[in-house]
Symmetry: C5
Subunit: 370 residues, 5 copies
């Protein structure tokens, strides 16, 4: 028993931990805009990559300090600065100065405990996303924060940890000379958002497979383990929903607000990504409905089993109680019990008990009790 509860609780804790409020108390009382890292991750030395491209060329440089970064806005084209690791205030601050970013924006970049959101600072847009992933052999969703700044001719992205999620876009930029090299920073940001959102589908597919396994388990051996998995999946769905819901608003507001930073051709693509986000919401809802249905089946199967057990007891008890009374009756030690003396007394009683037994079974059958 306690084993089961223990494992359930461990599962619960795994699921709960990353969703608890991250320590913010360190910041209470500091003036707004103070750069203090909020998040669980161990400090990571930030890695800065600068990728500059236009229709002709595409150059990637890794710099240690943003000030080493080559004169960017001289050559025409788009500059993408990718920062992995957000715990060093100094680095973030330098980038902030270099691109003239608002202190509150920098504060939000360093605070990995944000909801997906978009903020319009006139000269640039600030976008916060959550990349999700599953660790191996685990059905708990982990989320990592990705912040993006979309300026005129440049885009900056900040990863909480390492940023391999953007590799496909990097490859496209280097190999392909098509649309992505022709269009501006807004299309780049769209492409980056697109890979993040596509990632959600991958995670949902994994959940879909888990749910198919669950069904098999529900037939073969519906134990407390099944229940545990169902509750864990449900918890993850709720969590995912909480991340996707504001994401949808972010994309919808990008599409709707028509900031001058986002050019016309990109809007069709944003509508497409908006569609994806709705599709994800829909899938989450469907999965939740399916889980609810499975839980219903599980519970009704458990309660069915219990009822069956109770019914058997009831019937056995109800049959034997009168019989036991009868044998007790003739076990009395009265001196004058004429039946005891009769030759056919014993077989008669046996017959009587058999008759009672048959009668009761028939009665229960007619009542459809079993």
């Amino acid at each position: 028993m306690t084993d089961r509860v223990l494992s359930v609780t461990i599962a619960l804790r795994q699921q709960v931990k990353p969703r608890l409020l991250k320590k913010r108390s360190a910041k209470t009382g500091l003036p707004p805009g103070s750069l203090i890292h909020i998040g669980e991750e161990k400090p990571l030395i930030p890695r800065i990559t600068v990728l500059h491209y236009n229709e002709e060329e595409c150059r990637e440089t890794e710099v240690e300090d943003i000030e080493q970064c080559p004169a960017l806005q001289g050559t025409p084209g788009v500059t993408w600065i990718n920062v992995e690791g957000i715990s060093q205030a100094e680095t973030i601050e330098k980038i902030g100065k270099r691109f003239n970013l608002h202190p509150l924006l920098l504060e939000d970049v360093m605070n990995s405990d944000q909801r997906p959101k978009i903020e319009d600072y006139d000269d640039y847009l600030f976008i916060v996303l959550k990349k999700i992933y599953l660790k191996e052999n685990d059905i708990t969703i982990h989320a990592e924060q990705i912040s993006m700044v979309l300026g005129s001719g440049f885009a900056i992205t900040f990863h909480e940890r390492e940023g391999s999620v953007f590799d496909p876009v990097r490859q496209q930029l280097k190999n392909d000379k098509g649309r992505i090299r022709r269009l501006g920073a807004d299309y780049l940001v769209y492409s980056l958002m697109d890979v993040v959102v596509d990632n959600y589908f991958t995670v949902l597919e994994t959940f879909g497979e888990k749910m198919e396994n669950l069904e098999v388990q529900l037939v073969a051996n519906p134990g407390t383990n099944t229940l545990k998995t169902m509750q864990s999946l449900k918890g993850n769905m709720i969590y995912l929903r909480k991340i996707v819901w504001p994401l949808r608003e972010v994309i919808s507001s990008m599409e709707r607000d028509r900031s001058p930073l986002i050019q016309d051709p990109t809007h069709v693509y944003l509508r497409d990504i908006y569609d994806h986000s709705i599709h994800i919401m829909d899938t989450i809802e469907t999965y939740r409905d399916m889980l609810a249905a499975m839980l219903d089946i599980y519970l009704s199967s458990i309660s069915n089993k219990m009822n069956e057990i109770m019914k058997v007891l009831t019937i056995i008890a109800t049959i034997f109680i009168p019989l036991t009374f009868i044998v007790g009756l003739y076990g009395m030690n009265f001196e004058y019990m004429p039946e005891l003396k009769l030759r056919w007394g014993y077989p008669a009683v046996l017959l009587l008990m058999f008759a009672i037994c048959v009668f009761m079974v028939l009665y229960f059958k007619r009542k459809k009790w079993f």
Copy 2:
């Protein structure tokens, strides 16, 4: 027991399978607009029919390649291109080039895992619908995607599988010289949407009949089978609701947004079809309420049965427990138990037990316990 759960689970799986997310992972990392077919269906060689009509004539041609298609926009009238089978990227791409369609639109056409939606690409409207049908002897809704492009003077329709659902419209076009031949491509698209929506009524009628059967079953023999059917119907209702809800928005937005592609006389017809979609929503809600009521009756009947069984046990046990005590009492082997020696001891005890029995029955009766 396990048989029942097995069958329930099979039913669940049938119901669940088509609603799981279709494999999209193949697309992760590809640039947007990449044409890759997403769907379950086995590849189907596409079948393209071109139907050109105006008030005087109506000509139908089947072509293998859209480029074989006769010069369409020369003669006045409406051209309807009907494509069955969406898994061949090449075909879709050619059509896209021929009519200058946006790559994202083509991507959506090939991805059969879409919600009903409408998108305005200025030069043409893109509409995604779901046609639903039931397989024989089955109460699980299957959905098939139908995409439509409404341009100026032409309409293109894409079916996931074969497209006999549009036969009535095709017949009208060929035989009738009335309204449908006179009005433009917008009225054609309306007519096509109308047959798709009318189809929903047919499916709902079948469900209505199933529900009448369920009621009969609920009286005659309310077993686990009844429960299974109820849960399955409920699941289908939820699924249907998910399809119809966005459909309603599609039609409402067509009626409201007043695209120049849709002429004035067609708007009254769109309002009518919008009305139908609301009516479908209403019927679904009513069916859900009825199912909930049936489930209540089923559950209360099960729990009633259980209570009745428990009550019988309780009463029998409660009556016999004291009697069994008494017979046990006089079964004791004490040497000095004066009652045992008495001539009338045995009949007196029998009488006493009978009196206790009568008293208890009366007491229970007065308490209205049975």
Copy 3:
């Protein structure tokens, strides 16, 4: 048992039947605007009454064919055409031609399976209402469709069955020379809607009485019959809500949209009728709350009874189980059981058992178990 379920199911079916989707499949594939009667009623030969009135006079004629109808728009005043029976396509079509009505409107008139709605066809308004009534000794709401066309100087009303519901208005028109004769067709339509809505109050009053009876039953003899009636009332409330909700929208849109067909003085009256519809919604909600409260009381009384029965068994069993053990103990046949030989053995055991009994009763009392 089965009797109860049977009667519940019959009640359910009565309640369910009229709410199932009416057969529409006959229409699938026909072009929109095809006049086919959808409804349960047996064909009824339509009865057409023409009532023409102005401030001076009021003339009523019964015609067989709308073309026999005297030249209406010659004399100033309002013409009210009342049609009872909507199953004959021919009649409806003639009326449609005579007043230049849209085919979709005529289709809706013949289809008795509509939601209350209002549609603005510029030259006339089309209104669909539901008249409700209870059959004798029945608590199931039956609904009948009433369609109205409000044109300039005329109003047409269509009844699914006979139309005595409008008699009070007819009487007012004939006897009274007041407001109703002075104001136009819009006030006439308002008056007709008013009597339909007033009808709802009558039905709700009947339900109110049923609910008072239910309460008495809940005290005197809360059986399965009570439950059945509660469930039936609840079902009817849900159904009524479904009818009244769109009605409210209809009236609100009439008041708000300010069609030129509705003159200013009538708007105050529409606001009044809108108020009534909100009042009806409120009453329905209140009744539902009351039913829920009654159901709570019913269920808690049933579960209380069950608990009480279980408690009695538990206590009797718990008291007698140790006693039965003791008497069994001294029923053993060991040769060397010194107690059995003792003179005071029997009374001592009796005393012991009595003491145990007293102790347990006191223990249970202290624990407040009974």
Copy 4:
């Protein structure tokens, strides 16, 4: 048992009665604007008080007939006509004529079965409120209708019964020469509404005290009486919510619609009263949450008790069943049962049974069953 249900039902009925629809059937079929009193109260001879004031003076007259009323609009200032008793159509009609009020307004005044509402008749505003009060030793809310007409320079108030609720305002008018005497009829109406709303707080405070008592009861002796009170309080909260919700809308619409009858300085006061209404809604919600929490505690305490009883039975039965079997075993009458002959047979069996007993108790302890 029946006693309890009886008392619950009586409580239910008290609570239900005033909320059933009042008899309206008398009105069905009458033309709109017919003055018929709808309400429960016995006819009351109306009492009309006229209070005329301006910054200098304040005169109060009681008149029998509104036509006896001194020429009001001659002197500058505000006239407040207060009518107690609304069942005499004649009186209401005279007032209507005198101030040129719309017949529908008069109909609404006489119909005490209205929701709080506000209606703008251009020349005057019509406001319907509900005054609530508790009868002594009762926790059932009774509501009484107050209608107000705010015209230019005058205000008319109608009470269903007697109208002492306005006494504080009357006192202020007579004694104070401040704001209320300076500002117009709109401020008077505001003041009157304010005392009505303040009344709600008084009733809520009483409920608050009842709830504190309930808590004490929940500790000391949580019986069916506690449940009854909780259900009754809950019902009253639902009822109160239904009254306050539209009241909020009334005040919000007064503040928002900026009728010329309401002058600018009064708007700040309306905002204040609007705030009060939100505060009342909030308090009701809080009380409902608290009641729900109490109900949870009550139910879990009841179910805890039941579980405890069942557990005791189970444990006693489980311990004694094997023991009873053993004593039965040695009560068998076989001739050749060697154990029976043994000298230490009896003590050995006693020991064995004691060991079984100890083992089971330890087993249950380890399993933490008690």
Copy 5:
């Protein structure tokens, strides 16, 4: 048992008390704008601090009377008047006169029973907030009202009790010469609101820790204490939600309404604080979900235990009932029972019973009953 209920109830009361409506009846009937203190706190002699600052200097004075306050609006800069203790009507009134505040505003300041709100009095904004805190070793949220007036060049803050919550801002003003000294009174008010909102995070963090402890408890020893804590946490979450919800509206309306009193640079900061409030709402929702999940685990663990107990009883009883019958059978005293005479009768019966026992255990095993 009663102990548990007692402690639950005490917890409930602690939690309930501060949320009951505060005594307002003292005010019923008084004209609006009457200054009467509503709140629980014992009268506190108000403490007034005046802090005047501009970019060059920052002077703090403590005054006893607001009229002693140095000529404020002479020197350029911002004046912040901080009032601790709101129960003295005289003090509040003097401040009101000095700054020309509306009587209703002053009434609201003294009434500590307000919802968070914002009111625009053209010349100044009035903001009501709730500061929350936990007493030591307590998980009950206590709320204290803070009112703020933002005028042109000045800000006034009123605390229900002492106001150390603003100390960080006071420190910043004195030490820092940065943004806060440069920007106006609007930025000051923002800073003050920011520390209040940051406080919410601190409380939520404490709750997060309590919830981690709860989980540990849920594994180790899930008793009624765990349930109590869960219910208490849940109640606090509901309460917190009620406070934060209107707070969100307050901030959103400040950001949206663009009062001239709030300058442009401050808007970015308001957006940030708005973000925080959404984050708090989100955290509350997450905590509620987690609590619901924990409650599910607790309840299912309780019900599991009960089921297990019942199952053991059922199985033991079901096995022993037939055996007891058999031993009773051979305990009968019939003279002619041939089996009793047989030498191998006793061992045969023992064997039979053993066989029955084995058979039943195997049967139950196969049925997977244990």
